[in-house]
Symmetry: C2
Subunit: 391 residues, 2 copies
């Protein structure tokens, strides 16, 4: 990665006016994917689901499937979408649906834990890692597994589970496993952001456990639907059991909606003639790309902040070479500012998530790139003004 910072001041960037008061706190600490809402407004009628009073009442969906609470149409829609996008192998794999990737990550850790182990297995992730992993792993002080921090620093000669997040949250980089221990290790791939609007689809991923989520794919975070693609039937069974014990399955209303919306996306790509609107990944990539280009203009002029640049790669889905346009900005404060999160809040009234939450220096902070247009433009305004104060 090349770090772009302290470029020569160019002419000021044009940023549209916003309806946000300059004194208001700008809440950019969460990754609420509001940005895609406009697309779904245009597609509103096509994607409407209608659920009658007597429908979807049973706990059960398909007792012949390992994941017995999963609606068959949900499974088919997930497989179809991966087939259309080409980002993951689903043939001869088990699909396990969960209440978001969050529940499935915990289910996967549970499933990989040897039940006969005398001490908890170590769970590691390379820093900077998603800020919630540690709490998710440690919240119940499980005797089966425990948080063991940065995978790059793992040197114990004990079995471990490494979570590989790629593209990474918070920093958007593509990653592979990093543990160098000789001990027995198992992998969980969190591929929540491996979709063509965020990053070039360079290969069809084919790992033992791959976790995806509706929230980051289409922006429907309120539906709380995630899914795992799993090679080993015993792992799929244990993950299903975890979801059963923690919530007896997953909302069927949400499953129905996932099936509908994924179906509409796929119809667009498979039956071009029937589509009048821009296709989903084209639209969402265009929006994110526009935001990132604006951001680069502002960051290139900034003496306060820097952001690492992403390498170009050929995307098999869009058939073009492209940079990544991640869902978050991984901002670094330059010399003299030790705590980027505090600086953002105190000086610019921007609420970000500080680097320490991600296992790294507080000189970093994560900013959502997928909020409303107004929030994004107000963010640019304030960062732009910070530059001026330092001139």
């Amino acid at each position: 990665m090349v770090v772009a910072t302290n470029s020569f001041p160019s002419s000021s960037v044009t940023i549209p006016p916003t309806n946000i008061s300059p004194n208001a706190i700008l809440p950019l600490e969460r990754g609420d994917p509001i940005v895609f809402g406009e697309y779904w407004k245009k597609m509103s009628e096509t994607c409407t689901v209608v659920i009658k009073g007597w429908e979807l009442m049973s706990y059960l969906s398909d007792m012949n499937n390992v994941c017995w609470y999963m609606l068959p149409e949900t499974k088919e829609a997930i497989k179809r979408l991966h087939h259309v996008v080409g980002n993951a192998v689903t043939e001869d794999r088990y699909i396990v649906v969960g209440n978001g990737a969050t529940q499935l990550l915990q289910g996967a850790v549970f499933a990989l834990t040897p039940s006969e182990a005398s001490k908890p297995i170590n769970v590691v992730v390379a820093a900077p890692y998603y800020s919630e992993y540690q709490d998710e792993v440690d919240i119940l002080r499980s005797g089966l597994y425990q948080w063991a921090g940065d995978a790059a620093l793992y040197e114990k000669n004990e079995p471990y589970i490494e979570v590989v997040t790629s593209p990474n949250n918070p920093d958007g980089t593509m990653r592979g496993p990093v543990v160098k221990s000789e001990a027995e290790g198992k992998l969980i791939h969190d591929l929540a952001y491996y979709w063509p609007h965020y990053t070039p689809i360079t290969h069809q991923a084919d790992h033992d456990i791959m976790i995806f989520t509706f929230s980051k794919c289409t922006g429907h975070a309120g539906s709380r639907i995630g899914w795992a693609i799993v090679k080993d039937i015993e792992v799929a069974k244990k993950m299903t059991r975890y979801v059963q014990m923690s919530s007896i399955g997953v909302s069927k209303e949400s499953q129905t909606r996932v099936a509908k919306i994924m179906g509409v996306i796929c119809d667009g790509y498979q039956n071009f003639e029937s589509m009048e609107s821009e296709l989903f990944f084209e639209y969402s990539k265009r929006i994110l790309k526009k935001r990132w280009e604006k951001l680069w203009e502002v960051i290139d002029e900034s003496k306060v902040f820097s952001v690492a640049k992403y390498p170009k790669a050929f995307c098999n889905f869009t058939n073009e070479s492209s940079e990544s346009f991640p869902g978050f900005i991984w901002l670094k404060c330059e010399e003299g500012i030790e705590d980027c999160g505090s600086y953002l809040l105190e000086k610019l009234k921007i609420r970000a998530r500080g680097g320490e939450r991600f296992g790294v220096s507080p000189k970093y902070a994560r900013i959502s790139m997928i909020g409303t247009d107004d929030e994004f433009h107000e963010f640019l305004n304030r960062v732009s003004n910070a530059k001026k104060e330092c001139d």
Copy 2:
């Protein structure tokens, strides 16, 4: 409770013919509440929800509420339903929504666990207890809490959490706390079945933590919606945090549907003139009562099985005195049959859940009373035939 068994043989009970083959296994081990489906078919249009493509996309619902992912209309519908039925106090209480009562039970145990404790707190429930509690508590071998079995046998001088299930699953009895230890104890009330179709509403429950579920109230198990009514804001906050860490909230599609369906039920009771159909609790009580009356006829003639009878009580909701009509039959095999579950499966091809799963003798087994009409009638047929074999 009076135990009714071995009455004088009366004339055979009339049981409608079914479409189930006499050789088919009858799956009555689960409590899938299919029985209420017919009502919702009649009410289908009134209860339809329509969700457009762009709706319900955010993780967030109401950041001013402790339970920030709960839709305001879901909260209002829950409070309104309790107000109409009069089964629980909600004024000045916090509502926490979860992915079913299952997730909330675990959230409540987590919330009541002292974070500074050096050893796990004991979780107890009086036997016979719901078959899944033990696994739910023990699945992750938490260092915060642990399963400690039958509350009636608890004699340790250590802090404990007692779950009080009332009406009880599996046996339908009304219960209160039973632990006699002098140690500090906290209570969780699981009131999933405290609704007027199952049992007389004798009082407005007002406990520290009361858990309910949409599944058993209206029969919409596929929606995976439960809620807790909580007195202490700190407990409500910790329960919300638990749901956040385990699934970042609860499906909004399901929350919307809960609000709609509860609203229709309440409209029925509050605006009589607008309703053409029978009201929900009247319908569902009538159906369950009819089933129980048929069951009593068969059981009264049986030399093989007995079922405890329920005392009558005045129901403040229906304004009449009534027995209970629980969602499960808690069947006891008579002398000579030591394992009721195995007897049912081997002799009658009925899959039940055996007493040992509920912490008691295998002479007992739990049978669902809320499946389809055909399943219920086929059950009666087979039990009736078992009687004849013994004559």
